[in-house]
Symmetry: D2
Subunit: 244 residues, 4 copies
Amino acid sequence: MKDNNFSNLSAVFVNCTLKKSPALSHTSTLMDVSKSIMKKENVMVEEIRFIDHDVASGVYPDMKTQGWEKDEWPELFSKIFAADILVIGTPIWLGEKSSEAQKLIERLYSMSGQTNEKGQYLFYGKVGGTVITGNEDGVKHCAMGILYALQHVGYSIPPQADCGWLGDIGPGPSYGDTEWNGKKLKTSIGFDSDFTNRNTTFMTYNLLHLANLLKSNGGYPSYGNSRSEWDAGTHWNFENPEYR
Amino acid sequence: MKDNNFSNLSAVFVNCTLKKSPALSHTSTLMDVSKSIMKKENVMVEEIRFIDHDVASGVYPDMKTQGWEKDEWPELFSKIFAADILVIGTPIWLGEKSSEAQKLIERLYSMSGQTNEKGQYLFYGKVGGTVITGNEDGVKHCAMGILYALQHVGYSIPPQADCGWLGDIGPGPSYGDTEWNGKKLKTSIGFDSDFTNRNTTFMTYNLLHLANLLKSNGGYPSYGNSRSEWDAGTHWNFENPEYR
Amino acid sequence: MKDNNFSNLSAVFVNCTLKKSPALSHTSTLMDVSKSIMKKENVMVEEIRFIDHDVASGVYPDMKTQGWEKDEWPELFSKIFAADILVIGTPIWLGEKSSEAQKLIERLYSMSGQTNEKGQYLFYGKVGGTVITGNEDGVKHCAMGILYALQHVGYSIPPQADCGWLGDIGPGPSYGDTEWNGKKLKTSIGFDSDFTNRNTTFMTYNLLHLANLLKSNGGYPSYGNSRSEWDAGTHWNFENPEYR
Amino acid sequence: MKDNNFSNLSAVFVNCTLKKSPALSHTSTLMDVSKSIMKKENVMVEEIRFIDHDVASGVYPDMKTQGWEKDEWPELFSKIFAADILVIGTPIWLGEKSSEAQKLIERLYSMSGQTNEKGQYLFYGKVGGTVITGNEDGVKHCAMGILYALQHVGYSIPPQADCGWLGDIGPGPSYGDTEWNGKKLKTSIGFDSDFTNRNTTFMTYNLLHLANLLKSNGGYPSYGNSRSEWDAGTHWNFENPEYR
């Protein structure tokens, strides 16, 4: 590994807006700030708009085996799994991440019964973050749920792995809007937020640093965390508290 | 760094029970499982029972500067800051982490205006996890809030950085209890939970692996995440979206 | 109103399972306990399985106006709006309500720009609760989000308006299961939980009492809460704090 | 009951700021807007600043029985219990309600083993709401937890029972501030927020309407929700699902 050289990394951004393409997604506008940094750092970047795909609901790896006629999750999973970094983007509705974001989490979770060649959960060694936009409230709450889900299925979370934009409380323009209630705004709203810009930048670089570090070290050693070894009876230095 | 050699690491476990010593804390009983693994791996381990200390409320580094007569936070902070790993333990009340856990988070947050010699937030390079016990419900919800707070102030979160124990829904024995409602139980409750034992073990080793990796690499490079450099005008490859 | 006579009330239960009919839904099994009480009390009861319907995603009353080809929400809304009581049922995935439950909330929220003949938000005078099932963790967290959303769009929440069932931590049988891992269980799991039975009963009766009280009083007076009057300049006894 | 006559009602506002008197509390400033409406409606109103009192931690009605030297909770409980309405005010720290708010909830919960003369949980028939202030994010998340706790211990929640103020994302002035970063602001920040003013007004009147309705009807009938009757074997129309 060379510090600050990220050219062998790849990232997938999954946008969980409720709007199908080509409708404008404010979440996508903020994800672009992070994607743009990554591209300049020679990271391979792809964006998926989740709602554009015919993804089934459920908690099996392929819902076509459960009676659903269509399920594009296996294809999307291949892309997500091939990348070192996953960034989940979501709008906020009533203080919560979108139903599409929750659906994505359910499908990530549907893979959690599977293990890698070391016997670890599939997503070990990968790194995750989140980008959140709303009018007024909820970035931290949505981030809590999303980052929790990511670490639960095996992603590692670097410092300050979330970013977002919110305006004043109450209805108002969304990130990047150039007019509101029929009035032109001086600038695209939010673009001049030093707080959002800084957090987006720090998140991006922290994802890159941790992904770099983990990738160059071959991910996590399986000592102490291999599900298959545990099930086979290896418990390392764990001792049942009853017998301590 | 040698893989799986953790002897140069240190960890602090902060127990946020509402009960002062020497009252039995079920959270402490589960933390012991993790601590015991660490000790066998030659990690230096310390446990702090937060409520035993006279910690002031507030969001300044030392509340004695704000009119409080006593504040033991500065001493506790020194210990927490000296350790590579922080594990926050909490009981669950009404589905939420304890008021002591929230107070600890407020005091960790009170340090977040300070930066290290690279200009990064203070806790960069350190690793965090959480241990949670309750009768019936709430491990994941409490973990969401605690892990979010840890990553927000700079800790890194490895995969599956939480563990806990819960019984059936409704009132019941707590982790490690040997009797309930006046009846002797066959074994200490929860000690035979393969799920809790495995999660506690995996959390422990993942904390060790990530702390090892970060420590042996000198923490995070400051490229892209130094607050002082950002404030001085260095923005790396960030570009204001207005001008892209 | 006659106390304890509920025969002029109606209730809709919306099941937000991820499984399409006719697959067994454990959430439905627990909702049946509440529905059965209501039926014996001569309440008109209907259950909707949300995922069986082709409901569009988004935050407009009818997404067909936004380019979606199909949207069954308007028909479902008519049923929900006609009822005095709404009970949202959900399974728990990764500690959160299902994506279908979040989608339902988004669609309820999509109606929140509309007001009734008194100028109040549409759902004023109606009463809401929630039924939640999972293997091990998350009833309270899911209930927090669902009950919050219900009161936000105008529902009133009586005491103890949630109920649920959870087993021990870790994988296990779901509510009502009669076998697990290939082994027959002595009884349907959870059916003998006094805690779940009591909470389900209390929730049901509290929903009925409050709905009865509100209906027989014509809902909330519009004094102090009419959006149209506020917008027209009536502020009752509110005084701008700047001029107090 | 006479509609819109609230003169026989009383309310307690508990401010869960981390700052002791006489320090300025922004949360108190917003609570004043609601209190002022109530006073003009001839409601008896009292405000308690929780941190000014020596309240012990724990989940027993009086922690002096558990070895704590002091515990002012019993006196505070008397006041809270005497009032028809409870409004919990809290600042937001790291997206969560304050540790003082969580402590208050723990102490409310500590009373939940007790029942009234009908055998119902103690707080049945009372009404609750919440007032939240922060710089930038978290009103809805904090409200979720607080309103959930209130309904869990027996309070009823009317529509739109929360209000709050937030500024743009990032550091900034707090509610009512007249200067920020050394610069005078044109007006007290937030005072001109139609959204906050409206929500505060609607919350206040909805609390009054529902408290009025419940009080004039003698609270909830005990049919279907009496803990003591349930324990004695009365199950009304509940039927064990095993035998249905």
